[in-house]
């Protein structure tokens, strides 16, 4: 029989307001094996923890039950507490009487009763706990960063700074991501390329960083400290070592009709191309869908003009195997193509553009060299209408339910830039709310209104129509309580942002959970915002949710520090709640081996003494460094030889019995 101490937390009023904590402590104090029971205002506070430590010493406790918030919150905290008092950290069970009791029930008596039952179940379980020891596993001192945008680059640079190797895998031919496509940044209006291109150069120059551009992560296996990834290097048909990036080939290529991705398809590029002048790596890539040579075998002009002899039509896809200690997801975002919003004419008029397209139209490196022009006429627009929240904050099937967060600010920026360069151009912004929570953000928006004379109208555009030489915009002005009919030359849609479509596949291969919108979920919304629930997988940038550049960079650095925390250890302590097999019960049937997702079970011939008989038997052996503790094997095993430490069959049944009593 254990000597158990029970500690009931009030969590201020979070628990105590609904649960009679004293009554819980009193009732649990009478349970068999319980030698001490008390309640306290904040069990997780220093004094609360001291209370536990003192009780362990004073009463010689061998097991501890804490009735408090979710074990997902403070299990680790309390394990440390009891460990510092000399108890094995796994002699702890937590009854979740906050999230699963006080917060969801109103009736005090009912909630108190339930808390007692939950405590009783935890006591029943801890009776059967056994001390567990964490295993050590070595750490591969290299990180994988998936995505080479500002998030990926910042994470990689910070990890490299700490002296660890980093690989960046970027699916596009160049790193730089969306930030390289932006013209200016809010709220400072400094040039986006001027701040991102030096980062790109730093990234490429850093000897700790290896960039796999035009490559994709095919598969990842393993676990924290010991990931194995397969990287697919797509063929560029250009030898990146030899290519000098002179660009001569791109001037000679006769296939000129491919849409230029970097310019959001607003102009075209050649089949052999360098995405933009500051691309990193600065090498040409052949688009196999457009290349005449690759499609028909004829042409070969680029090969003839390349003085470096870099063209290699025979290049093949390559699979590269690499090992890592940690993985950072920085897969970024896309702006939706608002093709389902035809009331705004996106498909029907070239003068209706998304804000990212508008960004290219304003950029000095864009298709118009920074001169603002209506795409249909090439003339300076007289009036630009900006529509906010296109595809965001909705519930209909074409809508995203979330706020895309950055649109309010970049729209103010766009309007301000237009007014700055062309004071005569009218800018009207239709908004539902103007959301400016950020340092200097509201001031920035007010400047657009007050200094630059941008019209902000609270209301929504219902319809955009092609008029005679202009776009007719029908909208509501909710404050004036009237319907407006405006003429505009351009309409800019602040279309919703969404996670990059590659994220879903990566989430699955990493077993990192995602929300219903395909944003990666964080391990804890407040306390572990840059970690995925899967150990060793970290989140950086928009892949976790909409955010602006400084937020992205902060998260990128935070993710890097988490990675450094992993890589700086020589060994990781593994979760000791893992499977183990009782050789005397094992039949050697191999069924458990079949269901193990990690290949953690092998079979060995062992000398077994069973019922006084010594014999050699084929029995299951669990590799403790590999087992992740899911328990699939335990249910497959008919004889019950396989059990899970920390969640043993008799422990779970003890909980069942306690609950059903």
């Amino acid at each position: 029989m254990q000597k158990i101490g029970v500690f009931v937390c009030w969590c201020g009023s979070n628990i105590a307001a609904t649960v009679d904590v004293a009554a819980v402590a009193e009732a649990l104090g009478k349970q068999p094996g319980v030698v001490y029971a008390t309640d306290y205002q904040y069990m997780c506070s220093a004094s609360g923890q001291n209370l536990i430590k003192d009780a362990i010493r004073d009463y010689g406790l061998t097991g501890v039950v804490i009735c408090a918030c979710s074990p997902r919150m403070h299990e680790a905290t309390f394990r440390k507490t009891i460990s510092s008092a000399g108890l094995n950290p796994y002699m702890l069970e937590i009854a979740n009487i906050r999230e699963q009791c006080s917060w969801i029930h109103k009736d005090r008596e009912e909630a108190t009763k339930k808390a007692i039952t939950m405590g009783t179940a935890a006591i029943a379980k801890v009776q059967l706990n056994t001390p567990l020891t964490q295993m050590k596993s070595p750490v591969t001192k290299r990180a994988l960063v998936i995505g080479g945008g500002i998030a990926g680059m910042q994470t990689a640079l910070d990890i490299a700074d700490a002296g660890f190797e980093v690989d960046i895998v970027e699916k596009k031919p160049t790193i730089g991501g969306k930030m390289a496509q932006l013209d200016k940044t809010f709220p400072t209006l400094d040039c986006s390329s001027c701040i991102v291109t030096p980062k790109m150069v730093d990234t490429a120059a850093n000897e700790k960083i290896t960039i796999f551009s035009y490559a994709e992560v095919e598969n990842v296996t393993g676990f924290i400290g010991n990931f194995k990834a397969t990287i697919k290097q797509k063929p560029r048909y250009v030898d990146a070592e030899k290519c000098t990036g002179c660009g001569l080939c791109t001037t000679k290529c006769p296939s000129k009709k491919s849409l230029n991705e970097f310019n959001m398809g607003l102009n075209t590029r050649t089949a052999i191309y360098i995405p933009f002048a500051q691309a990193v790596p600065l090498v040409a890539t052949i688009d196999p869908d457009a290349c005449i040579k690759l499609k028909t075998g004829k042409c070969g002009l680029c090969e003839k003009v390349c003085e470096a002899g870099a063209i290699d039509y025979a290049q093949k896809e390559e699979l590269i195997e690499r090992e890592y200690g940690a993985v950072v997801v920085a897969t970024g975002y896309n702006q939706i193509k608002p093709v389902q919003y035809e009331e705004y004419l996106y498909n029907q008029s070239r003068d209706v553009v998304t804000s990212l397209e508008f960004e290219r139209l304003m950029s000095a490196s864009g298709p118009t060299a920074g001169h603002l022009q209506c795409p249909s006429t090439g003339k300076l627009p007289r009036h630009i209408v900006f529509i906010q929240c296109v595809g965001s904050r909705g519930t209909a099937c074409r809508e995203k339910p979330y706020c895309s967060k950055v649109c309010c600010m970049y729209t103010a920026k766009h309007a301000m830039l237009v007014k700055d360069h062309y004071p005569e151009v009218e800018c009207t912004v239709f908004y539902i709310d103007v959301r400016t929570p950020g340092k200097n953000f509201d001031e920035f928006y007010r400047r657009a209104v007050e200094q630059y004379g941008v019209h902000y109208i609270k209301g929504m555009v219902g319809k955009v129509e092609q008029g005679d030489g202009c776009l007719k915009v029908q909208a509501s002005d909710l404050l004036d309580n009237r319907q407006l009919h405006l003429e505009a030359d351009m309409v800019v849609l602040a279309a919703a942002i969404e996670p990059d479509p590659s994220a879903r596949k990566i989430g699955t291969m990493l077993t990192a959970s995602m929300d219903t919108n395909d944003f990666f979920s964080e391990a804890h919304a407040k306390l572990r915002p840059v970690e995925s629930p899967t150990a060793g997988v970290f989140l950086s940038g928009m892949c976790q949710g909409p955010k602006d550049i400084p937020e992205t960079v902060s998260q990128a650095s935070a993710a890097a520090s988490k990675v450094i925390g992993v890589l700086s250890k020589d060994f990781l302590l593994s979760n000791p709640c893992i499977a183990h097999s009782d050789p005397t019960l094992c039949n050697g049937c191999s069924q458990c081996q079949n269901v193990c997702a990690y290949g953690a079970i092998s079979y060995e011939d062992q000398m077994v003494v069973d019922k006084g008989v010594r014999e050699t038997r084929r029995v299951a052996v669990v590799n403790e460094a590999i087992c992740q503790g899911c328990g699939a094997c335990t249910v497959t095993c008919p004889s019950g030889a396989m059990d899970l430490k920390g969640f043993a069959s008799n422990q779970i049944m003890a909980e069942v019995d306690a609950i059903c009593n």
Binding site: Y341, E342, N347, Q348, K463, E465, Q466, G467, K472
Partner: protein, 266 residues
């Protein structure tokens, strides 16, 4: 190809010609439209309330008859299409509604939305195919610049009607191309003509239909086509600028060379 056919009341009276052109064209295309027996008026307007049963019974009767005949139900009038298709959706998805309807009507076999409701345009597009239709055109309307007028009822609510993209429909434009003419896109093609406001508040009908016609004229349309008798009335009678307005079936009959046959009685 045989279909149950629901003409609706206006096609028996003021818009008889819409019906006749359609029947003659259908015949030329090898489509058999068998009129539902003893059909009743659909009511012209779908009542969008949770508690109306009676106003939807006529549609359920027609739907159940088509089910019993083993045919899809085809309509020509946009209003009938809208009412019947939406009632059918109710029958499929609103268990409370259809239970009450079945209890009230006590049919031999309960109706639960089994019938597929089609607009004649869908038959042309999805069954015949516009490429195939083009081959059957004997009298292409080459050079004519035609604006398609959809109005509301063919398209909305898009989730139920499923005829086309409610904001950027293409079916009538493809139809216009198939009969050899040139479609003219204009902004007001899916905006309301004023509908029955012509009785209640005529100024709204005048304002709406004028806006539609002006929009069409501004983009160079020479005439408009529509599937709805009320739309045709508003655009032809209430709009301030004048423009010829035809039923799409009239131009179809013309292109197929059966216009005279239709006008002179089948």
């Amino acid at each position: 190809m045989k279909y149950s056919y629901y003409p609706g009341c206006t096609l028996r009276t003021k818009a008889e010609i819409l019906n006749r052109y359609a029947l003659a064209s259908a015949k030329a295309l090898g489509i058999e439209l068998e009129e539902v027996e003893n059909w009743q008026c659909c009511g012209g307007m779908y009542t969008a309330s949770t508690d109306e049963i009676a106003t939807k019974l006529a549609s359920v009767r027609a739907l159940a008859q088509a089910r019993d005949a083993g045919c899809d139900l085809v309509t020509l009038c946009s209003a009938c299409f809208n009412v019947i298709k939406r009632v059918n959706e109710d029958a499929r998805t609103n268990e409370n509604f259809i239970t009450k309807v079945n209890n009230y009507m006590a049919p031999d076999m309960e109706y639960h939305g089994e019938t597929n409701v089609l607009h004649f345009l869908e038959v042309l597009r999805d069954v015949i195919g516009f490429d195939e239709l083009k081959k059957k055109v004997v009298n292409p309307l080459t050079g004519r610049k035609i604006g398609a007028y959809y109005g509301c009822l063919l398209l909305r609510p898009g989730e139920v009607m499923q005829l086309d993209d409610p904001e950027n429909p293409k079916v009538l434009e493809e139809f216009i191309r198939a009969i050899g003419a040139t479609p003219v896109l204009y902004g007001q093609r899916n905006e309301c003509c004023g509908g029955y406001q012509t009785l209640n508040e005529k100024s709204i009908a005048v304002q709406r239909s004028s806006a539609v016609v002006e929009s069409a004229l501004s983009q160079g349309a020479e005439c408009l086509i529509t599937a709805c008798p009320l739309c045709r009335y508003n655009l032809a009678v209430n709009a301030a600028p004048q423009i010829p307005v035809y039923y799409f079936t009239e131009l179809l009959a013309e292109a197929l060379g059966v216009k005279e046959v239709a006008e002179n009685g089948n």
